[in-house]
């Protein structure tokens, strides 16, 4: 069954790469894009995504603050940080919020491994 995915990144290039890597495994999945945490919160409320890929360093509220809100509002949605910020403090916050963590540069194998590890939605 096709899933809805939300890719949140202020870099259009990174959104395009993530989109391609998701589609190379799941051609029929529906992918929405947002450029800020604020947009992500609005779009998640509308689209109810199965998975949110979320950058950290973005204009506005940033990815971690958005993740905290999204975790509350969408407890069943998989949320994975996809970020260049490889500091332990970010990974600790990701663990505390129950988020996945992938470091940039974005690699197709990492995206596929993460997608394969997710539990299928009901």
């Amino acid at each position: 069954m096709p899933e809805h995915i939300l890719i949140v990144d202020d870099s259009r290039l990174s959104r395009m790469i993530s989109r391609q890597y998701v589609l190379s495994l799941h051609k029929d999945w529906n992918i929405e894009e947002a450029a800020t945490g604020e947009q992500a919160i609005d779009m998640a409320a509308e689209k109810q995504p199965y998975l949110i890929l979320l950058d950290v360093n973005m204009p506005g509220m940033g990815g971690l603050a958005a993740a905290a809100i999204l975790r509350q509002s969408h407890p069943d949605t998989h949320i994975v940080l996809l970020t260049a910020n490889v500091q332990n403090s970010v990974q600790v916050q990701a663990d505390q919020l129950g988020l996945g963590f992938l470091s940039k540069p974005i690699k197709e194998a990492d995206i596929h491994a993460m997608l394969n590890a997710l539990e299928p939605s009901v």
């Binding site: 870099s11 290039l13 395009m16 360093n57 260049a84 910020n85 490889v86 500091q87 540069p105």
Partner: protein, 212 residues
């Protein structure tokens, strides 16, 4: 040099080694982006001014630079620089066939920002982990211009002394050379020196350091 920085030999050696490790992570990130080996020099470290540092890079060189400001345990400006003529090729190496070439031109600036974000954070993040401190980074800023315009964009006439760490790197197959620089003012140097001392103290007390 060590006297100028008020560092002991062990502290200066530790600082170089910590940056070497950070630079190694930056090289790995860069290599992963462009899919080829990246050679990086040993960091050179010196007290200088921004204008002098720009002269050393070459006054006639047209560069593109991606910079980010970091604050926290110490403050630093990190800058990734390439010859302007190489930027499109680097972006093309990053995306391969994922994005058509005719769409790529308009995205070049944005793509370079993302490349800078990844490479600079690979290095700065490693340093933060080793110092067991958090550093907060700004969004990347992209500039094109002379080495003076990249390294001294505020045209600071006072041009005070700064600590400059510079690493030269090359993508050999494409014959592209670039530069990675970290600039700290004198108060930030004191904060950095304190982090180095704490790092050595942890090492000497038998606590396993992060990042090695």
């Amino acid at each position: 040099m060590i006297d100028e920085m008020s560092m002991s030999e062990l502290e200066a050696d530790s600082l170089m080694e910590i940056f070497n490790i950070g630079v190694g992570h930056a090289a790995a990130a860069m290599s992963s982006i462009v899919n080829e080996e990246v050679r990086m020099s040993v960091p050179s470290i010196r007290i200088t001014t921004r204008s002098e540092a720009a002269d050393e890079l070459g006054a006639g060189l047209s560069l593109c630079g991606i910079s980010q400001q970091y604050k926290g345990a110490y403050a630093t400006e990190a800058i990734l620089m390439f010859p302007e003529r190489a930027s499109f090729e680097i972006v093309r190496m990053m995306v391969g066939d994922l994005i058509p070439a005719d769409e790529l031109g308009e995205m070049e600036r944005e793509a370079m920002c993302e490349i800078g974000n990844i490479v600079l954070n690979a290095c700065v993040g490693t340093l933060a982990n080793m110092f067991q401190k958090e550093l907060e980074g700004s969004l990347p800023v992209f500039r094109v211009g002379s080495s003076e315009q990249i390294l001294n964009p505020g045209h600071d006439n006072a041009d005070p002394s700064v600590l400059m760490l510079r690493i030269d790197f090359s993508l050999e197959r494409q014959q592209i050379e670039g530069y990675l620089a970290f600039i700290l003012d004198m108060s930030a140097l004191r904060d950095l020196r304190e982090q180095v001392r704490l790092y050595i103290a942890r090492l000497e007390s038998g606590m396993a350091p992060d990042g090695l």
